[in-house]
């Protein structure tokens, strides 16, 4: 097929535009990385762009000697591993029950879940609940309230429903109990959906911020995101020219950037898998709903 000059021009324009957009998505990150390895004087002078100036790992050295950074990392690891385990267990069990014809309360429970999607309780009743359950200032407050996402529940349910019915039948003929059936037939077949859900939940748990602001006031229990917010964002005012000397004393730019990098590394490591599974998961979800 012949391509007209106008179309060729558009193609090149499009390639360049998307290159520009892609660079905009990634470049800020390189800038942060460069700053985190640069000398603070060079950062203040504005010499650092995409490559470290007067290379130093001092910022990392400083944050790794800060016990509060360590404790916040430990909390985030606990929330991410423990929380994701709770998420998967709670979502998979309910989704499995809801996927089976034999489960009689299917419609009632589905309706119950759907209503929570449409109408959500305001912040304060949620806060009072956590308070009355004595979960304030515990890591449970960051894991239990979001144990099941209704959207993920529906995606997982439709995956279970898509499994071939013959497998269930053959399991029954072999005399499998329901539990055996779930454990040795359904779950091994569900590795892709479990991996996708695990990643979705895992990223959400690592990024937990709002709930920690609401429910955690003790500094030794905050996750890394809140620690980061305290260091980076809280002194936006301090950053103003009014007391910029103060701001520099509080936390030099290089240190803030180093914390950003540390908080991002797990996401970056997971990103290749995220991209692979997420995109599939999103497509399945969007087609099903």
């Amino acid at each position: 097929m012949r391509i007209s000059a106008a179309q060729r021009a558009f193609n090149w324009f499009n390639i360049c535009l998307l290159a520009f957009i892609s660079i905009t998505a990634v470049l800020p990150f390189l800038h942060v990385l460069a700053q985190s390895f640069s000398d603070n004087v060079a950062i203040d002078k504005g010499d650092v762009y995409l490559w470290p100036v007067r290379f130093t790992a001092e910022s990392y050295n400083l944050i790794f000697h800060d016990p509060t950074v360590w404790s916040s990392m430990r909390n985030s690891v606990v929330i991410t591993i423990g929380g994701t385990f709770i998420n998967l267990a709670a979502t998979a069990t309910l989704a499995y029950a809801l996927s089976r014809q034999e489960y009689r309360f299917r419609k009632v429970v589905l309706m119950m879940v759907l209503i929570t999607l449409i109408f959500q309780a305001p912040l304060i009743p949620n806060y009072l609940l956590i308070r009355n359950l004595h979960l304030l200032n515990t890591l449970w407050a960051l894991m239990l309230p979001n144990a099941i996402s209704a959207f993920n529940l529906f995606v997982m349910r439709s995956f279970f429903m898509g499994l071939p019915g013959e497998l269930i039948d053959s399991g029954r003929i072999d005399g499998c109990g329901e539990l055996r059936m779930l454990w040795s037939i359904v779950l091994p077949l569900s590795k892709p959906v479990m991996a996708t859900m695990g990643l979705i939940y895992g990223v959400n748990n690592w990024n937990t911020f709002k709930d920690a602001i609401y429910y955690i006031t003790k500094n030794n229990l905050i996750p890394i995101q809140v620690k980061l917010q305290q260091m980076v964002v809280d002194n936006t005012l301090g950053n103003s020219d009014i007391n910029s000397e103060m701001a520099k004393l509080l936390s030099p730019e290089g240190i803030k950037m180093a914390v950003i990098i540390v908080a991002t590394i797990p996401i970056m490591m997971a990103y290749p898998f995220l991209q692979k599974y997420f995109v599939k998961g999103m497509m399945v979800g969007s087609i099903k709903s």
Partner: protein
């Protein structure tokens, strides 16, 4: 187990009641498995929902929900009397509106552009790059943007000063920039990710349609306009509806991170106000009333826009 109990039941003499329960007992494990999930929804979703009645009380933490005095609609009346509330409501509506007008169309355009790429490896690279910011938390995104815009060390101000000779601007300390920053940061974070659903919808288009359009002499632009766009219109409609439903839910985290006393006149929204006044200043009943108001308006918005969309495009959520 299943095969051994079935014949046994048939011979049972007074089988009337057991027969009703038999299927439940037979698949008892299914019911057991569903219990944790159901309990989760009851405790963490329904208890707060019923707990919202404190909006009609003068709740005090000492008397609890059972003994606090009922005050009818007083809290709601107080809401509209308070002039700060009108400012916060109008901020919420304006920011929501800007988000709808400026951020919502970006993924559509981006998806159309990505779809025009013919070089597959390049397409994959672009997608890998633009999906990335979605996975960063708002704190990280906020930290990066605050660093960029800093009046002393930020790269934006360095460029402004050195290239254009403009004095440093304290972007975050100014009411006139905060909304742009809020919307812009959202576009940077989530537009790429938003293309996925549209790209999935575009993949599903029947290639015959493009062939037919080519036969009729339609160029690439014309094909986008007359084939691609109409084909993804249902997807756009559904996502538009979902967006409308979350209209007042701009998101606590994004605003909370950028908010400071110098920009809160234009940046403070319902969520951040409820956090400050409710959680910090402990005006529980009053802020629950505000939250309830927000939820009800959100519900109404979904119902109304659903009806409108069904009438105009034939698509609807339910």
């Amino acid at each position: 187990m299943a095969s051994s109990t079935a014949p046994a039941q048939a011979f049972r003499p007074h089988a009337d009641k057991p027969r009703k329960l038999a299927p439940i007992r037979k698949h008892g494990v299914l019911y057991l498995l569903s219990i944790p999930g159901i309990v989760y929804f009851l405790i963490f979703k329904y208890v707060p929902l019923f707990g919202s009645v404190i909006a009609f009380q003068n709740y005090s933490i000492f008397s609890g929900i059972w003994h606090s005095p009922w005050v009818g609609l007083d809290q709601f009346r107080r809401m509209f009397d308070y002039e700060d509330f009108t400012r916060i409501l109008s901020n919420t509506i304006l920011i929501g509106l800007y988000d709808l007008v400026f951020a919502f169309p970006v993924p559509i355009v981006l998806a159309l552009l990505i779809n025009e790429l013919r070089l597959l490896p390049y397409k994959r690279i672009v997608q890998t790059a633009v999906y990335l910011p979605h996975f960063l938390s708002w704190v990280i995104v906020g930290g990066i943007i605050i660093n960029f815009l800093s009046p002393t060390t930020g790269v934006v101000n360095h460029v402004l000063e050195q290239v254009f000779g403009i004095d440093a601007v304290y972007f975050l300390g100014d009411n006139s920039y905060i909304r742009t920053i809020l919307i812009g940061s959202g576009i940077w974070k989530d537009s790429g990710w938003g293309t996925i659903i549209y790209l999935a919808a575009i993949v599903g288009i029947n290639p015959d349609l493009y062939e037919a359009a080519q036969m009729d002499g339609a160029g690439r632009l014309r094909q986008v306009w007359s084939v691609t766009l109409p084909a993804i219109l249902p997807t756009i409609a559904i996502l538009f509806l979902l967006h409308i439903g979350r209209f007042l839910d701009f998101g606590f985290e994004r605003v909370f991170i950028f908010l400071n006393p110098l920009n809160s006149d234009n940046g403070d929204i319902i969520d951040t106000f409820v956090y400050r006044t409710g959680l910090i200043d402990q005006q529980y009943s009053y802020t629950t009333a505000i939250g309830l108001f927000k939820s009800v308006v959100g519900l109404l918005l979904v119902v109304i826009s659903n009806a409108l969309t069904r009438k105009t495009t034939g698509e609807s959520l339910y």
